[in-house]
């Protein structure tokens, strides 16, 4: 298990080796244009690449899970975490020149989460925002670091205005053009412009990188091995994407022994070895081991004998398995799971999502943004439609919360996968945040003038 936990670091080391021979290091140079290509819409709410370049959050979480100030310079909790007050950084302006005010931030936040906000009331006091909740909100500072709480003026506009390192200059045909914000409060980015082209197939992205038409492209986990073999410069994150099988508790699956049979029948090692070419890590827990340190307590081994025993006597009507946002790799995973279940005497079929019926099993890919374990568990449980417990502060409580939920077998964690990028030789100082987001603001271009 340990070698897989540290696999991303091995990949990063490899990148460093390749980069060393790429050119001399000097201080970062200003100027130049950076071209990024992605499969998804760069302007997608809440976590499109372009959005993260244009907007800031009130807080951010660093690689070690510590919550740091961003647009908020400080905060404090009162009334046992039922009331939080965040003070805004003074002197910040949106790209359109408007001042960053508590009212503008409150409007943005309320629009972001609509009626599902983790707070029950939000008001402004002087240069601060006050969040109040009927339930305690111990993770609110970390929660506010998530992409959905990035602060924007006019969220719905074609070119909304933010306070981030880049401002929008144009959005045409899925291509977002950005220019450096010279007055950025953390210092102007090194590159002058960034062009983010979305909805590009992986094949086109890699082709564009090879002929110098793109600087940064995506590398899915299953192609990491190939990318390294092709001598691409690759940067991979910690495991940040959880492949999880969500199991209904209705109908025949109301029987928890049947749900347990499904969990025991799934062969994670086959998914890991065959489909993902040993990238990422098999997981029996919702949170990655690198974040909690206790992942090994959740078994990942298949036990087909026990699966058959638990299945015995259960009704044999075929289960429907659908895929949330399917792609080539999740399609393969779903088909493999169907085979695994069949070996345990369980009948399932992969079908496209239908509005007419609720599937028995849903294969989901959940991206974990939070770098703080407690906030990450909140995020994960929320994504799985679960109620979030009030206090998940220390590892012991986190473990018990996770264990108790997984004992219901309504979610079967399968694999944790890294996010990875390939980049051209002219890209300097590219790093990834804990959740795999490229830190474009620190990137410079070799040879820029």
């Amino acid at each position: 298990m340990k070698p897989t936990v540290f696999r991303p670091f091995v990949i990063n080391s490899l990148v460093v080796c390749l980069a060393l021979s790429a050119g001399a290091r000097t201080r970062s140079r200003y100027g130049g244009a950076l071209r990024i290509e992605t499969q998804s819409d760069p302007w997608r709410f809440p976590d499109g690449v372009a959005r993260k370049l244009v907007f800031d959050g009130l807080t951010r979480v660093d690689d070690s899970g510590v919550v740091l100030p961003e647009l908020a310079i400080r905060w404090e909790s009162q009334n046992d975490n039922h009331r939080w007050q965040f003070w805004l950084r003074p002197g910040i302006r949106f790209h359109d020149g408007a001042a960053l005010t508590p009212a503008a931030v409150a409007a943005s936040l309320s629009q972001s989460c609509a009626k599902q906000c983790p707070w029950d009331g939000l008001s402004t006091v002087g240069n601060s925002l006050v969040f109040v909740g009927d339930s305690a909100m111990p993770q609110l500072p970390a929660e506010l670091a998530r992409s959905m709480y990035l602060v924007a003026r006019q969220h719905d506009a074609a070119e909304p205005s933010g306070t981030g390192p880049f401002r929008v200059t144009n959005v045409t045909n899925g291509v977002v053009s950005l220019a450096a914000n010279s007055d950025y409060w953390q210092g102007r980015p090194f590159v002058d412009t960034v062009q983010v082209e979305g909805k590009r197939s992986l094949r086109d992205q890699w082709l564009d990188l090879s002929v110098g038409r793109a600087d940064i492209v995506e590398v899915p986990a299953e192609l990491l091995h190939q990318a390294v073999q092709d001598r691409l410069m690759v940067l991979a994150s910690h495991p940040t994407d959880l492949l999880v099988l969500s199991v209904s508790s209705k109908g025949a699956l109301h029987n928890d022994q049947l749900r347990q049979a499904i969990a025991l029948a799934v062969d994670r090692s086959a998914l890991f070895n065959v489909i993902f070419q040993k990238e990422g890590e098999p997981t029996g827990s919702l949170l990655p081991a690198v974040l909690t340190g206790y992942g090994f307590l959740f078994p990942t081994e298949r036990d087909i004998t026990r699966a058959r025993n638990y299945r015995a006597g259960a009704s044999a009507s075929p289960m429907v398995l659908t895929i949330d946002n399917p792609d080539a790799s999740t399609q393969l995973v779903a088909e493999r799971i169907v085979l695994n279940l069949r070996e345990a005497g369980l009948n399932a079929q992969v079908r496209p999502p239908s509005s007419q019926s609720t599937p028995d099993l849903v294969l989901k890919r959940i991206h974990l943004e939070a770098g703080d374990a407690a906030a990450a568990l909140d995020e994960m449980l929320e994504d799985l439609g679960q109620k979030i417990p009030e206090e998940t502060g220390n590892p012991d409580v986190l473990y018990k919360t996770e264990r108790d939920f997984l004992k219901t077998y309504q979610a079967i964690p399968l694999l944790y996968l890294p996010r990875a990028l390939a980049f051209s030789e002219r890209v300097r100082d590219l790093r990834l945040t804990g959740d795999g987001t490229p830190m474009i603001v620190d990137v410079s271009i070799d040879g820029a003038k």
């Binding site: 298990m1 340990k2 936990v5 540290f6 670091f9 091995v10 080391s13 460093v16 980069a19 060393l20 790429a22 050119g23 001399a24 290091r25 000097t26 201080r27 970062s28 140079r29 200003y30 660093d62 690689d63 070690s64 899970g65 510590v66 010279s182 007055d183 950025y184 409060w185 953390q186 210092g187 102007r188 980015p189 090194f190 081991a289 690198v290 974040l291 909690t292 340190g293 206790y294 090994f296 307590l297 770098g371 374990a373 220390n394 590892p395 012991d396 473990y399 300097r428 100082d429 790093r431 804990g434 603001v441 620190d442």
Partner: protein
């Protein structure tokens, strides 16, 4: 790889040591490392033993210890012994017998922030889990060696960028001054340790550039009370002394910075000097990151590390391209040396983050000749300035994991 991971990911702050006695304190630190390591296991071992005993109760138990963390293998046995001792104090005796009813499986694990020690206590079919978090112990620093040997003495570590560090004398007392983008901090020595004394906020009327730089230049007229100047993008400050206390006064200013015997205008929205010098040469250099004066038998020459990657040598005002600089990074500083011609040029290395190094060169003609091996650094060089007496250079590195800045005093000794 595991040890490297540990250094990269969990290197803790190091205690500050005296600038004057680096060797003595280095020796003390070497002595302290194992002691600190053993001390650091006691608390988590005791806490875990207490929690185990609360579940298992007194009596014999089979104990296994598995290491899934970056703790070196040779320390696991010590941890096991500590754990056994603590368990005994709570009445739980570790037994090798397979017949005992209680099995305790301890796993030394880790997450991004801490080490996590997990105990699974099995009695029959029932397994109960307890865990404790702990911080990892210190890691040893690397060393370097070659013809001329470059040595580094640790000065301090901070999470905020360190731009420069220097030392001033206030009366008979030596103080360390540390420049950050938005403040200047002074330290006084107390029982061999540098302790924070005064903090001066430095206001900026416009945002600092992404790669902020700054320099402390000690004054030459201490008699008047003026001790030093501080240069930052768009800001110049004057430091003085009054009744044993330091005072700092800052103003918006684009005045040129004293870099060598010339003054150089800094581009306050970027991270380089414009290339405009005062009084200047008949042919000015291009924009440059850093400059250094190098004394050699034919006279003193000036080198400019230009933003286009070239290093230009000015000899009596005439620019010349020198060779042997292909592996150079952007930071250079000249220090006095008892070896060779009297000067050594310290140069940061080519290569990508997160590793970097500093190497010493001599330039007898138009070729830079390395005279030391590269001194490895556990991060990227972000600043390198010679101290006022040019006996040493202050080198600041940025470590990738965790994001932390460390300042060192770098000197050279002849072999």
């Amino acid at each position: 790889m595991q040890v490297q991971m540990r250094v990269a990911g969990y290197n803790p702050r190091q205690p500050m040591i005296s600038h004057r006695r680096p060797l003595l304190l280095l020796f003390v630190l070497v002595l302290l490392v194992p002691a600190r390591a053993s001390i650091s296991w006691d608390n988590p071992a005791d806490e875990l033993a207490k929690q185990i005993a609360a579940i298992a109760g007194p009596g014999p138990a089979k104990l296994t210890v598995k290491n899934r963390s970056a703790i070196p293998a040779d320390q696991v046995a010590a941890i096991r012994r500590t754990l056994e001792r603590q368990l005994r104090s709570y009445g739980v005796t570790a037994s090798g017998s397979a017949e005992v009813a209680t099995v305790i499986r301890v796993t030394l694990s880790q997450n991004l922030q801490h080490e996590l020690w997990v105990a699974e206590v099995q009695e029959g079919a029932e397994v109960k889990v307890v865990m404790v978090s702990t911080d990892p112990p210190a890691a040893a620093a690397p060393s370097s060696s070659a013809g001329v040997t470059i040595r580094k003495a640790f000065l301090l570590a901070e999470e905020m960028p360190i731009l420069d560090v220097d030392f001033v004398s206030v009366g008979d007392e030596r103080r360390m001054i540390v420049l950050e983008p938005e403040r200047l901090t002074t330290y006084r020595q107390n029982a061999g340790t540098w302790v924070k004394d005064q903090i001066f906020d430095i206001a900026h009327s416009r945002p600092l550039p992404r790669d902020p730089r700054g320099r402390i230049v000690l004054g030459t007229s201490a008699a008047s009370g003026h001790l030093f100047d501080v240069y930052l993008p768009g800001v110049v400050c004057g430091g003085s002394e009054s009744n044993g206390r330091l005072l700092l006064s800052c103003n918006d200013s684009d005045d040129p910075w004293p870099v060598v015997s010339q003054k150089a205008f800094y581009n306050s929205t970027r991270n380089y000097f414009t290339g405009v010098l005062a009084p200047g040469y008949s042919t000015q250099p291009g924009p440059f990151y850093n400059a250094a004066e190098y004394a050699r038998s034919g006279g003193t020459v000036t080198l400019f590390s230009q933003t286009n990657g070239q290093v230009v040598l000015y000899d009596k005002g005439v620019p010349k391209i020198i060779t042997g600089t292909r592996d150079w990074g952007s930071d250079i500083a000249s220090i006095h040396s008892a070896c060779g011609e009297g000067s050594l040029l310290l140069v940061s290395a080519a290569g990508a983050a997160p590793i970097d190094s500093v190497r010493a060169y001599e330039i007898p003609g138009r070729e830079a000749i390395p005279v030391s091996g590269p001194m490895p650094l556990d991060g990227s060089v972000m600043a390198m300035w010679p101290t006022n007496d040019a006996a040493t250079a202050t080198v600041v590195i940025r470590k990738e994991q965790p994001g932390q800045y460390e300042a060192y005093s770098v000197s050279a000794v002849c072999n």
